[in-house]
């Protein structure tokens, strides 16, 4: 069901835009790229260029980002036993934002594999911040969840004020205020397939690896001591799950900036629909997150066309009411 929704959303997203292209043609074009098929083109060559060079890149990026954020959300909520947890909770967002702003201040046009300095800055900023937070929260060979949440909060606040300070004092950033804002609100800014080629294996690999932690994430619901009674080496496993979730988040923000709400709401929505068992929750959330983000991004780029709205605005705008609806419908079954 979810897979069908995702494919449908992807098709629709490719079809709509400044030039609308019939979904059937898109299917044929895509199949034509495989050796088995050979449909007569009933479309113009420019349509094919629009699909493959512009829209499909963006849709595939949306799929990857949505799946990565939703999976990271499940990992963090399950590990931290905290329904308010999202992929950004231990400082990844603030770190990525600062990294990206710093990169914007560099007046050089460096790029490799289609990546400019900004995505690289965001990626490194996110991972370095998690590393810092984890080490700050470490006491006596253990990293209690509460200290990690507190350290994440404090470090985020500090990095955010550094970023605000930079924006105020730097002339370069003043000129790029729009880019800074788009990054913070989150908008998909992938222009080349080479970027997808670098990030896709990381995200897809991360999602597959996450599934191996499913059984143990269920055990973490009993708390860390309960998990230890069931034979889990808690501290070691915590590092692995945190690293995996942070890597997925860093990949996502390097493609799109800070898209909020996907990583918080999608896991909850899937949990309400299918239950909290991580063996099902993880793959289902990845699919649902992908479909959700593709839909939101399509709305973001078509609703006020030619003006493009940051997709992060839409994820919250659609996500919040949908979530409230779900919560009210099944409040009794849900343990808050």
């Amino acid at each position: 069901m979810l897979t069908l929704t995702l494919v449908g959303a992807m098709l629709l997203a490719c079809a709509v835009g400044a030039v609308s292209i019939p979904p059937l043609d898109i299917v044929k074009m895509t199949l034509n790229r495989l050796p088995l098929f050979d449909f007569q083109p009933t479309w113009q060559l420019t349509d094919e260029t629009i699909i493959f060079q512009i829209r499909l890149i963006r849709v595939v990026a949306g799929v990857l980002i949505g799946a990565a954020l939703a999976t990271a959300g499940v990992l963090f909520q399950g590990l931290l036993r905290n329904p308010m947890a999202d992929p950004y909770i231990i400082g990844t967002s603030a770190g990525a934002a600062l990294g990206a702003t710093l990169a914007m201040m560099v007046p050089l046009g460096l790029a490799f594999a289609g990546f400019g300095l900004v995505p690289v800055g965001a990626f490194c900023g996110a991972l370095l911040t998690v590393l810092l937070v984890y080490n700050l929260a470490r006491v006596g060979g253990k990293t209690p969840v509460v200290s990690m949440l507190l350290a994440g909060f404090v470090v985020s606040a500090m990095l955010a004020s550094v970023m605000s300070f930079l924006i105020i004092v730097s002339d370069i950033l003043q000129l790029k205020l729009h880019s800074v804002f788009s990054f913070i609100m989150g908008s998909i800014s992938v222009q080349e397939w080479s970027q997808i080629a670098v990030i896709a294996p990381l995200i897809l690999g991360g999602i597959v690896v996450a599934r191996f932690f499913a059984f143990h994430l269920n055990a973490f619901a009993l708390g860390e001591e309960g998990a230890a009674y069931l034979g889990i080496s808690v501290e070691r496993e915590k590092i692995l799950i945190l690293a995996l979730g942070s890597l997925l988040t860093a990949c996502a923000v390097s493609l799109s900036g800070l898209i909020g709400f996907v990583g918080l709401v999608v896991p909850h929505a899937v949990r309400l629909a299918l239950g909290p068992d991580h063996r099902l929750l993880l793959p289902a959330s990845a699919l649902a997150g992908a479909a959700f983000l593709v839909i939101a991004d399509t709305l973001a780029r078509t609703l006020l066309a030619p003006t493009e709205i940051p997709v992060g605005i839409f994820t919250a705008l659609i996500g919040a009411p949908f979530f409230i609806f779900l919560l009210r419908r099944s409040r009794r079954e849900y343990a808050f």
Binding site: F212, G223, A228, G231, R271, A335
Partner: protein
């Protein structure tokens, strides 16, 4: 359930928390198939002793042995394949179903790659049946009463097919009917399946009725160790709990039965 049993012993075990509270030089031998109650006032070290026995805490000095093998030589997973722990309660942040919770008992046997097998599901079903809650399987854990939740936690521990079962005040929050039910279950596991049982207990009368051997702790040391009749004396209870009691034979079983004496009656 299988019926292999293991013994547990401690040699000169000491442990101290940061705040100074400590267990001192505990020597203890618990034979395979014994059923032992740990007694003592709040903060005497019952819970710490159980945590050392389950290996989630390591002693500062001395060693804990499971069938002559040092516990610290075993991995967490190997320990969990042989020792199961039942705490006072669990709080789950999400709405897990009862079968899903009991299946968690198979965690030390399940590999992340292949997931659970038919055997894991069979053992889970057996555990539910043994505890008498097979009817609750589809219910949400968080919707159950405290007594039912405790049975689910016990079933989860049984799904580990443990040789040693450690319980930390398993009946602390329960009404009298559920207290007796849980203890009956634990004792029948011990009698019929040979599971070694060590349980911290608060209620002296229940401990007297359900355990063959009692260990009385005072300020981190073993104060008395023996049968209920040897341990539960008026003098021991006065020395350890600072409470004035009368001990008389239980009207039916003749096990020691304790009644407290209010202050105004103590002159007589």
């Amino acid at each position: 359930m299988h019926s292999r049993s293991s013994g547990l012993s401690m040699r000169k075990v000491s442990f101290a928390y940061f705040n100074g509270f400590a267990l001192q030089a505990i020597n203890l031998m618990i034979a395979p198939g014994e059923i032992v109650g740990l007694l003592g006032p709040n903060g005497c070290g019952k819970t710490t002793l159980l945590k050392l026995a389950s290996g989630v805490l390591s002693p500062a000095e001395g060693e804990v042995l499971l069938d002559e093998v040092k516990l610290k030589k075993l991995s967490r997973r190997q320990v969990a394949q042989r020792i199961a722990v039942v705490p006072q309660s669990y709080h789950l942040p999400f709405a897990f179903k009862v079968t899903e919770v009991v299946l968690l008992g198979r965690t030390p046997f399940v590999s992340g790659l292949s997931g659970e097998t038919k055997k894991d599901r069979d053992v889970t079903a057996d555990a539910l049946q043994l505890v008498g809650i097979d009817g609750l399987g589809k219910r949400h854990f968080n919707d159950l009463s405290g007594g039912e939740q405790q049975k689910v936690i016990l079933a989860m521990a049984l799904a580990q097919e443990p040789e040693v079962l450690l319980l930390d005040e398993p009946t602390a929050h329960l009404d009298i009917n559920h207290q007796v039910e849980i203890l009956e279950l634990v004792r029948s596991l011990n009698r019929n399946h040979g599971v070694t049982v060590i349980a911290a207990m608060h209620d002296l009368n229940l401990a007297s009725l359900f355990f063959d051997r009692l260990i009385l702790l005072k300020e981190g040391t073993i104060f008395a160790d023996g049968s209920p009749r040897e341990v539960l004396t008026e003098r021991n209870i006065k020395d350890v709990f600072l409470a004035s009691v009368r001990v008389s034979p239980h009207p039916v079983t003749s096990a020691p039965h304790i009644v407290v004496l209010p202050k105004e009656t103590q002159g007589s």
